[in-house]
């Protein structure tokens, strides 16, 4: 027994080093698996407050670009409004109500929350965004995040007032996307090289792809509503080992100037996942 104590006293520093290193590795591995490490929620709340203070200053430098993109989005939405269209029969007026359940029998599938981006990184290997909306405002894990110009990422961690978003510029981010021309769908991920470009894999070589083609979210994109802008094709290279293309996509979202984003959730997604989980495995 005495020898053990002597041993511990002699190698105390080494043992402390190994213990702390073990703890650090545990935090890292655990976080990479589940995005939940100890203090992660509390720390998110604290860093969120500091980030918000910083963003209050930074925000002014981006005001012009933010205004432009929000105005462009407003114009697009106005164009989609029912009142922008002339009805063939002018005697009949269409009224739109805001009931959860539409009288036409429509069921709301996506609900949008607006949120301010308070922190955003682009030059890490794995980039994250912090948004000033949290569990108290109805944010849940796995919600999709859209910028004014296109999709931006997915919520991975929620605290009371802030949420952490895994941006598209993250090695672990995988979003199902499709080519607008021909509806070929593949998986969009990031290779870590340039924050303006992501890669779309799994498009067969039989597809007719041209530079400048639009890439949209597909029906398989989980919490992302289908048909949202992901980006445009800027480079085509074929993977020699498989019969698929690797397409370089210029992201529609400008991650350098992102100031506002919308959070959305597939309200019917839980039912879909439940059904998929029940699939018999044999």
């Amino acid at each position: 027994m005495r020898n053990i104590f002597l041993f511990i006293r002699r190698f105390f520093n080494l043992l402390l080093f190994l213990a702390l290193q073990g703890l650090a590795i545990y935090i890292l591995v655990n976080y990479n698996k589940t995005h939940q490490a100890f203090f992660a929620e509390k720390a998110n709340e604290v860093t969120g407050v500091i980030n918000e203070k910083y963003n209050n200053v930074e925000y002014y430098f981006q005001l012009k670009k933010t205004n432009e993109s929000l105005a462009a989005q407003n114009a697009m939405l106005l164009n989609q409004q029912r009142t922008s269209f002339e009805n063939a029969d002018t005697a009949k007026q269409i009224k739109i109500d805001s009931l959860l359940k539409d009288t036409l029998g429509l069921v709301r599938k996506y609900n949008f929350l607006v949120a301010k981006v308070v922190n955003n990184s682009v030059n890490e290997e794995n980039n994250y965004i912090t948004m000033h909306r949290g569990a108290q405002q109805g944010v849940k894990n796995g919600m999709a995040v859209l910028g004014p110009d296109g999709i931006a990422g997915r919520v991975i961690l929620v605290s009371d007032n802030y949420s952490r978003v895994m941006s598209l510029l993250n090695h672990k981010s995988k979003v199902s996307a499709m080519l607008k021309r021909g509806f070929y769908s593949g998986i969009a991920d990031w290779d870590g090289k340039d924050p303006q470009y992501i890669q779309l894999r799994g498009i067969p070589k039989s597809a007719q792809v041209k530079k400048g083609d639009t890439v949209l979210t597909s029906n398989l994109s989980g919490s992302f509503p289908p048909g949202l802008m992901v980006g445009t094709v800027s480079g085509i290279s074929s993977d020699p080992s498989t019969s698929f293309y690797i397409l370089n996509i210029k992201t529609a979202t400008n991650f350098f100037t992102l100031q506002y984003a919308f959070l959305t959730d597939n309200l019917l997604g839980a039912e879909q996942q439940q059904l998929e989980a029940q699939t018999p495995k044999d």
Partner: protein, 177 residues
Amino acid sequence: MSSLLKNIIRFIFFILVQAFVLDKVPPLHQYVKPIFYFLFILWLPFSINRSWQMIIAFAFGLCMDYFSGTPGLHAIPCLLIAYLRPFLLSILLPRETTEVSYAEPSIKSLGAVPYGVYILLLTFIHHSCLVMIEWLQFGDFVFFIGKVAASTGISLLLIFVTEMLFPRKAKFRTNAA
């Protein structure tokens, strides 16, 4: 200003500078990433107990991690350089003085060449460890070599500029005190 207060201010300052200035710089290239915060650990006073050095370094790295988004990523290399620091210092410290007469490592207390070696080695170890963790998750060997070399270069440049801009008054401690 007491040494404790000075180091608390440095702790906050280095994290804020890294999180809100250097991490916001538009990326030049995938390999070139300005990393500078770990200078806090290199500047810790000589007099701190080795165990405390490691605990401070661990807490410092973890604080940095919560700002950058991946808990544990910076804590591991910070802890490693805090553990290796005393060994390196015992080799590099001038032999003539038996007890340490300056408060913390600087050009004055170690001499220009040993201080340069001290900074270079620990920067290299820190970056190798940091990039290695990233490398294990993704990337290839060219990524590892390129990123360590490029980031070490830019960090040394930043440390050199900092030493020029903020000359630290190295207090000589007499035995009378």
